[in-house]
Amino acid sequence: MSYHRITLKVNGSLEVVDISGNMTLLQMLREKLALTGTKNGCASGECGACTVLMNGDAVNSCMVLAAECDGAEIITVEGLAKNGEMDVVQKTLVDLGAVQCGFCTPGVLISARALLNRNPHPTEFEIRDALSGNLCRCTGYNRIVEAVKVAAEIEGQEGA
């Protein structure tokens, strides 16, 4: 087993973390940094519950080795709100009743944020496609899709 000391930025804070070579980014976030908002649903890259932003891209953190994150910038669900103000996708998920058990929600929020960052005006299909890696068993998805749509509209107005 190899051991490493890595330096990375998580939710804006610089962190120095000692990790073992087989530790995943998901394990590091949850076990070393106490960021338990990111969820473990399958540990095999299939359900999307562990989605985080890594250098701006949405990744399944269970499929990324922590050792690969040296120098990376990670954003988790805990880092979406800025100065106590929720991100617009957080607000629209709340407003549109798109949260039930909440276990897929952190991953959904990150996937939605990644989509809007790279494509501020997505079509309905693009939204559904971007969320297709985030399994949800409670909501039936449509309210989530609608929430992302509304978030895009709000951000479009703010940006205009």
Partner: protein, 783 residues
């Protein structure tokens, strides 16, 4: 004193935001796996049977104990007692024989998960293979090998009827009227057999449990569970621990759908903890284990015969159901019972003969799954009613309306049903779908069709399942409501806060209902299952709030020298209708009121207590299934889909779906709609994609790649939901449950739409593109 403004608006019936949503969108919500236990935490992994049916000849774990970091190995030898909710047929670990692939035979506790996993390979289990039973009909036959030779010794309640010396763990019968005499009077008769496969619940949060036993006898279990109190009761009994010493802490759960009801894997870390005291021991199932070792929705073979007269009036039905109960049916026997007493579906049928048989097989263990037998039952009933309507030549919607249950009907069990809004539900769905209007497909290679199906379901539970609640007043006027029912995502904490606020007379914002549920401090609740909380726990919360209100008014009445009847609480103020005096409740609900002469005090800290338990459910005769009141009530509804099928691929696209359910009273209409939408999509997923592929007893698709569930691209863009409200006489504000029902009719409604589109009836789900294409090919619809 200021005169309080009387509240003009009611919070019951309002779509307030869910109480737990802020924490869920910020990552702050704590689920079981999120609890930190520090360095003392030990990990547990389970050695599982690779065989569906075998005798255990020898278990040797000496080598496992030599691995550094391994602390303990436990096996069935250590825990001889049975555990089970309805039929106590299961041990915590297999003892002398294994009965399904994945059954636990031993558990290792080690300092890390990796070491525990590695130690499993060092455990040798010697088996003698036995012939497995892999089909419920065969299992019920005389030729089948017996899976539970000790069936006659198992404890069970008096409403479960095992057949000793067979694999039949429960045989529920209905004999009403005379079906044999009715058949000659029928102008049309349809017979068909439907097969519904096992499906898995697939909560996104896997099962997880942590147990710790102390030297002083205290045991604590932290678990992702729908049933903290049932787990306490069942495990405490099996392990000889007083309930008062057994504490179950149940944080928010990441989806349950029935698989976290009763006792499942939680027993394993508890058992291990009793042998290794003082340290917390954690078992977190892998996704693979989640698929093949947990409760499944039972498979079902349902043989239906149904007939009507020339005007389309239903005259008789025979319904024989073989439920694939799996290796242990401790919970599944009651699915069979529920399927039995509801076996007509929501139809008024004067002559009924039902045999609902739970059969032991060497398949995964069947348990509760959202709908509790109803989706499986309705897959048959919902299709055969359309088939009969077509055969007698009647408009399908008219046929459903003519025959659906209505208030005052005598059901197959002899129970007289309360008023139901089912006809209104059918009407709403039929109009929304424009049923009867044939619409053009979007392309020449597509076929378009519409289908509906009806649904009913009663809470399936013991007759005396109870609830309780506490309403605790705080000195700033806020209120904490304690309940024992679990927040699964269905929104029950929010609905309870609404009921408490309305009943007490305080603003909704003042009331908090929060987890975790903790059996040491939370009041008793039977289980969070059966769509029973809004109704049952809602009644307990209302009673607790009314108790607190009475205590508050009594104090003020004495202080003001008025009668309590002349006082009320509005928006957090006690007001007098007589004198127009008012006082804010926060001024006295903890510290009391000074007496009028200032010499001494009145009152004290206010705690309201409330309970609810139905007292009127009667037993049913073992031979005829007849009794005065089989169940507490039924929630009814209808659902329909408008679909297209691609002739080149067999792929279904759902263009539109509509649901209508009679919820009695929607405490929170938007959350009722959320249940209707989410339940529909879960049902659609099972209808289109889902099946546990069991080959020789082994599940071949235990991953999200091979067991596909619906994703955001699979669901119709538009789903309309209609709320019908026919008040429940004993529901809080008239409410009854809705959590499970939207999933119930989906498979039948989709099958009916497929038939409408193609003229081909494909009866057995899942309706995969491949299955549809092959059926169209065989029928000559495509070539």
């Amino acid at each position: 004193m200021a005169i309080a403004q009387a509240s003009t608006s009611s919070v019951v019936g309002k779509s307030v935001k869910r109480i737990d949503v802020q924490e869920k969108v910020t990552g702050a919500a704590q689920y079981t796996d999120d609890i930190a236990f520090g360095n003392a935490l030990h990990h547990c992994r389970v050695k599982r049977s690779p065989h569906p049916h075998a005798l255990i000849k020898k278990i040797n774990y000496d080598k496992a104990l030599l691995i550094p970091g391994v602390k303990l190995v436990v096996t069935g030898e250590d825990f001889p007692e049975y555990v089970g909710l309805y039929l106590q047929d299961r041990n915590i670990f297999a003892r002398d024989r294994v009965r399904f692939v994945g059954e636990g035979v031993a558990a290792v506790v080690a300092s890390t998960e990796e070491i525990a996993e590695k130690a499993l390979d060092a455990i040798d289990v010697e088996y003698e293979l036995l012939q497995p039973v892999l089909d419920p009909e065969f299992g019920a036959s005389k030729e089948a090998p017996i899976i539970h030779p000790d069936l006659e010794k198992y404890e069970h309640p008096n409403f479960i009827f095992p057949v000793n010396g067979t694999n039949m763990a429960n045989h529920f019968k209905i004999r009403k009227g005379d079906t044999e005499a009715a058949w000659p009077q029928c102008a049309a008769i349809v017979e068909h057999t439907f097969r519904i496969p096992q499906v898995q619940h697939v909560p996104i949060e896997p099962h997880v449990a942590i147990a710790k036993a102390e030297e002083n006898g205290q045991v604590t279990l932290w678990a992702s569970t729908q049933s903290p109190f049932a787990q306490r009761a069942l495990l405490a009994k099996s392990l000889h621990i007083p309930e008062s010493d057994f504490r179950v802490i149940a944080p928010l759960i990441g989806g349950g759908f029935g698989c976290k009801a009763g006792v499942t894997m939680e027993a394993i870390p508890v058992a291990a903890a009793l042998k290794l005291k003082g340290v917390p021991i954690k078992l977190l199932l892998t996704r693979e284990e989640e698929f093949y070792t947990n409760f499944v929705r039972q498979g079902l073979v349902i043989k239906l015969k149904v007939g009507c007269d020339k005007d389309g009036n239903l005259l008789a039905m025979e319904n024989t159901m073989y439920w694939d109960g799996g290796a242990y049916t401790e919970y599944g026997v009651n699915v069979t019972r529920a399927g039995g007493y509801s076996s007509t579906g929501p139809y008024d049928i004067p002559n009924m003969r039902t045999d609902s048989i739970c059969v032991y097989t060497n398949h995964p263990v069947g348990g509760a799954y959202r709908g509790f037998g109803m989706a499986e039952l309705h897959t048959g009933v919902g299709q055969i009613m359309d088939m009969l309507a077509d055969k007698i030549g009647m408009d399908r919607t008219e046929f459903h309306l003519r025959n659906c249950v209505r208030g005052g009907d005598v059901l197959a069990t002899g129970m007289v049903i309360h008023e139901v809004g089912l006809p209104e539900c059918i009407d709403k769905v039929a109009r929304a779908l424009k049923l009867g209007e044939k619409e053009a497909p979007s392309a020449p290679n597509k076929l378009r069709g519409k289908g509906i199906a009806l649904a009913w379901k009663a809470p399936a539970m013991p007759p005396n399942a109870g609830s309780s609640a506490l309403v605790k007043m705080n000195a700033d006027g806020t209120v904490n409501v304690s309940v024992g029912g679990q927040e699964l995502g269905q929104g029950t904490f929010t609905a309870m806060a609404q009921i408490a606020a309305e009943s007490l007379g305080v603003p909704y914002e003042a009331v908090k209902v929060l987890g975790p549920i903790d059996t040491r401090y939370s009041p008793y609740e039977w289980q969070t299952v059966a769509s029973r909380l809004t109704w049952s726990m809602g009644n307990a919360v209302r009673n607790a709030a009314l108790d607190a209100k009475k205590k508050i008014l009594d104090i003020v009445a004495e202080a003001w020298n008025e009668k309590p009847e002349d006082l009320d609480i509005k928006d957090g103020y006690v007001i007098s209708y007589k004198t127009e005096e008012s006082i804010e409740i926060k001024d006295f609900v903890v510290y009391g009121l000074p007496k009028a002469d200032d010499q001494g005090w009145l009152g004290g800290p206010i705690v309201g207590a409330g309970s609810f338990m139905p007292t009127y459910v009667t037993g049913l005769d073992a031979e005829t299934g007849q009794g005065e009141r089989a169940v507490v009530h039924y929630t009814t509804g209808a659902q329909g889909l408008d679909i297209e099928i691609d002739k080149d691929t067999g792929r279904i696209t759902v263009l539109y779906a509509a649901s209508a359910f009679d919820v009695g009273k929607a405490i929170n209409p938007d959350m009722v709609r959320q249940q209707m939408e989410g339940g529909f999509v879960q049902g659609l997923s099972s209808a289109m994609f889902e099946e546990c592929q069991l080959v020789g007893g082994e599940m071949r698709n235990p991953s999200f790649v091979d067991y596909r569930i619906a994703t955001a691209i699979d669901v119709p863009e538009k789903i309309d939901t209609f709320i019908v409200e026919t008040a429940q006489d004993d529901g809080p504000f008239g409410a009854r449950g809705i959590g499970e029902h939207p999933l119930v009719p989906v498979i039948a409604a989709l099958a009916n739409a497929i038939y409408d589109a193609t003229g081909v009836r494909i009866t057995n789900p899942p309706f995969s593109a491949e299955k549809i294409y092959m059926a169209l090919l065989e029928a000559g619809v495509v070539n």
